[in-house]
Amino acid sequence: MLVIGIGHDWRGDDAAGRLVARHLQEQPNDLFLVREMSGDAADLLNAWQEAEAVIVVDAIHGPAAPGTIYRFDAQAQPLPAHLFPACSTHAWGIAEAVALGRILQSLPPTLIIYGIVGQNFGLGTGLSPAVAPAIPETTQRILKELECLKR
């Protein structure tokens, strides 16, 4: 199993996915591998070939309150475009990777996407107070999910 944390350390709450990955990295386990990535679609599609079950965590823009945690089963449904908008034609992201992987039939058998609603994506480090509690909570939810996937 593979967990991928996506984000940018120097853009406020955008670091959320990476911080969850680092929390998971600290857990002693032989269940799963953890990677941090920038979120480029080609890299994601390549990494997804490495495992039967993949969990991806990323910060998202959303209408819900900052710190809200979304969970999507990417095998079951496309990622909602309003939560995962295309930011650049030269840098396809997670939504495009899922869409392309579905067409190319190269999604891993299990692909779960966690989205943490961010508040501040400006320059600088540090999470918004409303977003910080979502890091340990998402970590715990993923650990439970990994336990279930093991069975």
Partner: protein
Amino acid sequence: MSKTIKVDYLARVEGEGALYIRIKDDRVTQVQLKIFEPPRFFEAFLQGRKFTEAPDITARICGICPVAYQMSSVHAMEQLLGLKVEGPLRELRRLIYCGEWIESHGLHVYMLHAPDFLGYADALQMARDYPEVVKRGLKLKQIGNELVALVGGREVHPINVRVGGFYSVPRKKDLVPMVEKLKWARDAALETVRWVGTFDFPPVEPEYEFVSLRHPQEYPFNEGRLVSNKGLDIAVDDFENHFEEEHVPYTTALHSVIKARGAYYVGPMARYNNNFDLLPSGVQAAAQEAGLTSFCRNPFQSIIVRSVEILYACEESLRIIDQYEQPDRPYLEAEPRAGVGHGISEAPRGSLYHRYRIDDQGVIQEAKIVPPTSQNQKTVESDLYQVAVQNLHLPEDQLTWLCEQAIRNYDPCISCSVHFLKLHLERH
């Protein structure tokens, strides 16, 4: 009768811009490539910063060609400081640039440009009918990303490039695992050249002035003189004596022209035309097998040239890794001194010019950056005029498609140009 064809947001180009074409009595009266992405003022940000910060600050201008910004900036600073980076450090700079060409060209050829030739709105639609082709393109791009990350620390906005060399250098054994991947990429690139060579190309061959670096011994990345097929042959620090930027009211990006001559063309086609003889014989043969001669004027065939450059970058990467020996020191040091430095390197989209003036403390007093998309803007408008004139008989949707395709021939990066698409076609 008058008519305007307009595309408010050009797709499959980087950044925000639009195109207006005005047609009156079956004549094209106006073509404007409008870049409305706001100016980004990087040249002003650089003032007051240390000379050592230029590569990391300017890399932020673009997420797809940060290596180009880093390379042009370090070469400008090194010229100013009298540093000459040679041997394995110089080779590592070519290697990271190979990675950037593979990832940038791979993305454009497969995901942004090929759908135009095959009649698809985007790569997702194309992937339904060409899944194995799209997989090949993705893997090529991913290998380019991996190469940039290996030498640069990460694939986007690498952090390992500094004035004088690198913060740290890879060991030979760090590079060796890339060899098998690059051999796959070389085969895939050859397949790419053959595949795009089968596309149909509109029969246009405008007269261009192609401008690129040329180095006596090697296909250019970082060094050489700036040359053209019309006799230009200047040192890099002579750039502003021969080129100038113009403000144009309808666009936030400056237009760049050759003084007294006007529009010119930078990018893969310019590099190819000015440096065909410096490509390895196998790469030359692949280009010729795909239908090119040693000089290509058809901008629609830029997709073949880009594929040829992917092939070259794979070959060059393999050569560099094979011959690499870890240098004793990761970088050369130099004390700052007051002066002016100039650098040009070959970004995936063409020649990228940087000039810096620093004081004796190494603080940047003035910076000037001329990115390739700005340099190509006038030529893109000229191409669009020709395409519109020659295809006025086409239904509006087909003409619009062809115009957008003509813009994508240049793989424009609007984000870079404002340091730019919508199409408006107006018939009166």
